[in-house]
Symmetry: C2
Subunit: 269 residues, 2 copies
Amino acid sequence: MQELFISSRKNETLREAAKLLVSGEVRREKGLFLAEGARLCRDAVRSGITVKELFYTQSAGEKYPEYIMELREKAEKVFCLADHAGELLSGTKNTQGIFCVCSAGEHEKKEIPYNHCLALENVQDPGNLGTVLRTAEALGVGSVLLCGACCDVFSPKVLRASMGAVFRLPVFFFPSLPAAVAVLDAKGFQTFAAVPESDAFPVTEADFSHPTLMAVGNEGSGLSREAKECCGRKITIPMLGRAESLNAAASASILMWEMMRGGAPHGAG
Amino acid sequence: MQELFISSRKNETLREAAKLLVSGEVRREKGLFLAEGARLCRDAVRSGITVKELFYTQSAGEKYPEYIMELREKAEKVFCLADHAGELLSGTKNTQGIFCVCSAGEHEKKEIPYNHCLALENVQDPGNLGTVLRTAEALGVGSVLLCGACCDVFSPKVLRASMGAVFRLPVFFFPSLPAAVAVLDAKGFQTFAAVPESDAFPVTEADFSHPTLMAVGNEGSGLSREAKECCGRKITIPMLGRAESLNAAASASILMWEMMRGGAPHGAG
């Protein structure tokens, strides 16, 4: 494959790629995102994500030859960068100097698996979202639904915190949580709204042997009223201490753990 | 009480207080820390923390009169600030303009409660540490032991993420995790080292009806070899997905939840 060398930070291809680092709008418009780091880029190609462009710095070429060899095979175009040019693509302090412009398109799966499912409403913190996706994968949640105004799942912080779970986990997008519940209701899922109210149904008594949607709200304000009303049942994590509630990521971790503890739903696939 | 007005950002008292915002070294040297925000400052006084100095801006005086009245009663000295001077004490974008210089001294409790206990080794991320403390309080963990090179529990980010749990939860400091285990071993605690190894003892089968120390390691590298070796047993969270492991905060949440689920230890108080 032809491989171009870029030494100028003013190079047009480089500058276009750099826009994907900082702008969610550009990412959505182009249907592309930028993955950074040897491990994360490899996770992307191994998960079947299309790599439009691979960029690697001269230093990276010396330090990570095996990673780059694997990425080069899958990338449609390859560019080697002078180290100072590579900084333009990096969102971290100590960059490894490996970057892939990836297609966001294939990420959209067609069918929501008939399994356990986590729905997030208006989760705004990228670190929280990435952590929740990583935990969802570890605990075998079948899919994640991002509802309402969640932060961009392809932002550099979410990608990093998710440890590549973004590439592997089926993620679906809905304009609102009630819209998601309507779809899963029709498929026969039981639907729970997680709330910090001590009189709600305790998660320890729920039966997760059926396909289940678990809805978790945003960090500051929890689930919206509409979201709580459209779910079949309010559910809560029984607490001992006086903290008003767990934060969104901690709640989601415990709820997903309880779903896993309940075993795979009958007929899950 | 005499109340001084500070209009200059060069005021010496103000500058001394501002050092507590940025420097862990100054905090340790003086045994003081700076709490910011109406809610957090009120949490501090209600938890019996000594407030050496209260600072509030003129805007805060108009917006939060009830909070300031309560804080004023407990503070040893009170200063009203011109709004632009208040910015010097703030670690946030939109400050409420209320700050307390607090004594870190009373925070050290003498006796570790005979109960469930979480030990953290070298946890460096302030957001993670704050979240874990908040979760520990919510799930009724009796105490938290910070071992080795953990980040400063009185840093502004930890205080914020903990939602005031730092003030209420008994927190103890140990030079290393083995030093903490030695103390709790002698008291008759069972001790577990949390590891991401699938052949370790599953947390779902553990008996938490005894006083228990649960050791969790740092985000990147987990528990040190010494820490794993000094604990009675390695314990793990059974996983389904392919993620290499949960992150430190998610693991700690699930482990503390399982301890709570197991019920209070016999003789806990």
